[in-house]
């Protein structure tokens, strides 16, 4: 018969009080577990979006704004990069250590979801969270030669009702600033499977379509846009770049006014859209490629760098950050680091505050265990004296009380972990909807293992006082006292 069993029998003796104190510990631990798992999911969710590429390259400006806008589609772009810079980087004229470059163009929404202009390579070439490839739940990726094709993220598709074949019109602007709806319709070619990344909540269109609707818009309005988006697209380029590109803007205005914006980058004329679109694309072909590229802009670039040699990402970032490319200065950031920094600065502090509160609740529950055992000591004096009379020494009876405290704490802790994970599992459908991350009953965070030594230490601390009382019990006096 072990001392654990002897302690367990003592707990059974006071089943109701023991259960209540253990349950209070369970509630505290459940709260700790819930906070840990919840923030773990949040952290994972944030990091997932920043995986699959090595660098984000954007105009000089706020690093965090660049990452928030490019990775999470939050806020406005820092500015714009000339399209030619994208092409030069992609084709290795700026840096030979670049494996792939995916452009990202912001500035439109549909039913509250960001509409991102990009190339099909974003889903063909990039991966997410641990190297997983993007998969389509329905339909397929859009094709480069189809400028008005689109792909919807899982949540965006579900909430906006978009499915393959559906058409939609993007609205210029973002969020509150969204003002004017474009006439041109994009057609959905595919819906992505959930990824647990911000991609789920976005709609991706062929970047060429973006340029075409702007060309048409410019054609009709001949200049400045009422919603200010165009202003943002152009004036957010740093002043030096604006000056150097000002002639390009003029040329863009002139071209738009004289018959539409050309797009020499379209490999083939669009074939599956309206006659208007088709003729517009044909007009674009009439223009010179380089001239067109001078007027196009992108919000940011997602850059993939070869894995070897180690440190190449930092080298490429350094070179981009410290160079001037045809008058253009850019910033290149490693998204994971910025996300980690953002998490630590904002979410991490909230997690710490909630964890401290939850741990305080656990400590209070621990004090409850102490009070429960302490209150039982007067009625247990005889029991302890009997053990002593049977040969148990002072340390042994002290150990029995400490073990009792530890059992109550660990029992409550185990129940709390089940409750916490049960709660998270019950909330799993909502968490999956918000973050795309499927949370299971046994999705543990390693840090949860600290609860075991933590609870043992707490139980030892709170059990010490009653254990000392047991230690000091006068056997003869307790045995001769009336039972």
């Amino acid at each position: 018969m072990s001392l654990w069993k002897i302690a367990w029998r003592s707990i059974q003796q006071r089943a109701v009080a023991s259960a209540l104190t253990s349950f209070s510990m369970a509630l505290g631990v459940a709260l700790v577990v819930t906070v840990l798992v919840f923030f773990g999911v949040l952290y994972q969710s944030l990091h997932r979006g920043a995986e699959g590429y090595d660098l984000i390259v954007g105009p000089r400006g706020g690093t965090e704004q660049l990452v928030l806008n490019t990775v999470f589609y939050i806020g406005d772009p820092v500015g714009k990069l000339p399209y030619q810079f994208y092409k030069d980087l992609e084709e290795g004229r700026i840096n030979k250590n670049v494996e792939a470059v995916i452009p990202v163009c912001m500035g439109h929404i549909y039913q509250g979801f960001r509409v991102i202009g990009t190339t099909p390579e974003i889903f063909d070439r990039l991966t997410y969270f641990g190297g997983q490839s993007y998969q389509f739940a329905d339909g397929e990726n859009f094709r480069a030669e189809d400028p008005f094709a689109a792909v919807a993220g899982a949540v965006a598709a579900k909430e906006s009702g978009l499915r393959p074949g559906a058409k939609f019109k993007a609205t210029h602007g973002t969020g509150q600033s969204a003002a004017r709806q474009h006439e041109e319709e994009f057609t959905v070619t595919g819906v992505l499977k959930p990824t647990g990344t911000p991609v789920d909540r976005a709609i991706f269109v062929n970047m060429e379509g973006f340029y075409l609707i702007h060309a048409k818009k410019d054609q009709s309005s001949e200049g400045t846009e009422a919603d200010g988006t165009k202003a943002a697209e152009h004036t957010s380029v740093p002043p030096a770049q604006q000056n150097s590109n000002s002639h390009n803007d003029d040329r863009l205005q002139q071209k738009a006014g004289s018959g539409g914006k050309a797009d020499g980058d379209l490999p083939q004329p669009p074939s599956s859209h309206s006659t208007e679109h088709h003729s517009e694309a044909c007009d674009l072909h009439d223009c010179q490629h380089h001239d067109q590229d001078d007027h196009r802009e992108v919000s940011a670039l997602l850059v993939v760098v070869p894995e070897r040699p180690p440190g190449l990402v930092e080298k490429v970032a350094f070179e981009l950050n410290n160079g001037t490319f045809d008058g253009v200065q850019v910033q290149a950031v490693v998204p994971g680091r910025v996300v980690a920094s953002l998490f630590e600065r904002f979410v991490g502090k909230l997690e710490a505050v909630l964890l401290v509160m939850a741990v305080l609740i656990v400590v209070v529950a621990g004090v409850g265990i102490m009070v429960s055992i302490y209150n039982s000591m007067s009625e247990r004096r005889r029991e302890i004296a009997i053990m002593r009379a049977l040969g148990a020494n002072r340390v042994t009876v002290m150990l029995v009380v400490l073990l009792e405290s530890i059992l109550l704490a660990l029992g409550g802790g185990a129940l709390g972990m089940l409750l916490g994970h049960g709660l998270v599992t019950a909330l799993a459908p909502w968490i999956a909807q918000w973050t795309g991350i499927a949370v299971g009953l046994f999705q543990f965070r390693l840090v949860e293992l600290l609860l075991i030594p933590g609870l043992i230490a707490l139980a030892s601390a709170v059990g010490y006082l009653p254990a000392v009382i047991a230690y000091r019990t006068d056997v003869a006096e307790a045995l001769t006292a009336n039972p």
């Binding site: 018969m1 072990s2 053990m387 049977l390 040969g391 020494n393």
Partner: protein, 223 residues
């Protein structure tokens, strides 16, 4: 086997004065001997057993058991000595209420040796007639059955000395003789020295050796 020489024990009263309870010049019991100590209430019977068991420490004098002077042992050593060499049957049984009959016997083994001998525990409970009540906890046992468990527990570690403090005082009349016979027979079977205290003459007269505390406890004689 048991030897007490000039053993004194007193307790401090609330007014600060010392109250002598034991003052025994000499007392001896041979191995396997069965001795009954008779004394009225307050004559120091329980205190004497506590001193012999090492539960209380004598103020002075020597208490030797099998050649070991337990007054020279530390408290922890006395605890261990008591667990290994002395069995104790209390007037109020003092069973652990949360433990079954079998566990009450096993727990005594655990404290004495660090391990248990379930076969012996079962055998002892069978010997005291409780083979069908081993898994029952004390509240589910009759008073007589509880005292039987207490006897089995006292013999669990094969003690050399069994101290019995009015073991039949809390037992109904029908069970008194049975308990007494059980204690004496098992002690005889296991060659255990028995020192039983009682205030009941009908119990005392069954023993071959009767000692009256009033006659050899000078603390009582002075009262």
């Amino acid at each position: 086997m048991l030897e007490l020489i000039d053993v004194r024990k007193s307790f401090q009263q609330p007014n600060g004065n010392q109250l002598p309870v034991l003052d025994i010049a000499e007392f001896r019991a041979a191995a396997g001997e069965q001795v009954v100590l008779v004394g009225r209430s307050g004559s120091g019977k329980t205190t004497l057993l506590h001193v012999i068991a090492g539960i209380s420490r004598a103020d002075s004098g020597r208490v030797k058991i099998d050649g070991w002077d337990i007054t020279l042992l530390s408290e922890a050593e006395r605890d261990r000595f008591r667990a290994e060499h002395i069995g104790y049957v209390f007037q109020t049984f003092n069973l652990l209420p949360g433990f079954s009959a079998l566990e009450n016997v096993l727990v005594a083994m655990r404290f004495a040796r660090g391990h248990v001998d379930k076969a012996r525990a079962r055998q002892l409970l069978k010997r005291v007639g409780l083979e069908h009540r081993m898994s029952h906890k004390p509240p589910m046992l009759s008073v007589g059955e509880q005292q039987r468990v207490a006897v089995a527990r006292a013999l669990a570690n094969k003690p050399r000395l069994l101290l019995a403090d009015e073991p039949t005082a809390s037992v109904d009349a029908a069970n008194q003789q049975a308990i007494l016979d059980l204690i004496r027979e098992t002690c005889q079977e296991e060659n255990v020295t028995l020192l039983l205290v009682t205030h009941a003459p009908e119990v005392a007269q069954q023993f071959p050796r009767i000692e009256y505390l009033e006659k050899f406890n000078r603390a009582v004689m002075k009262l």
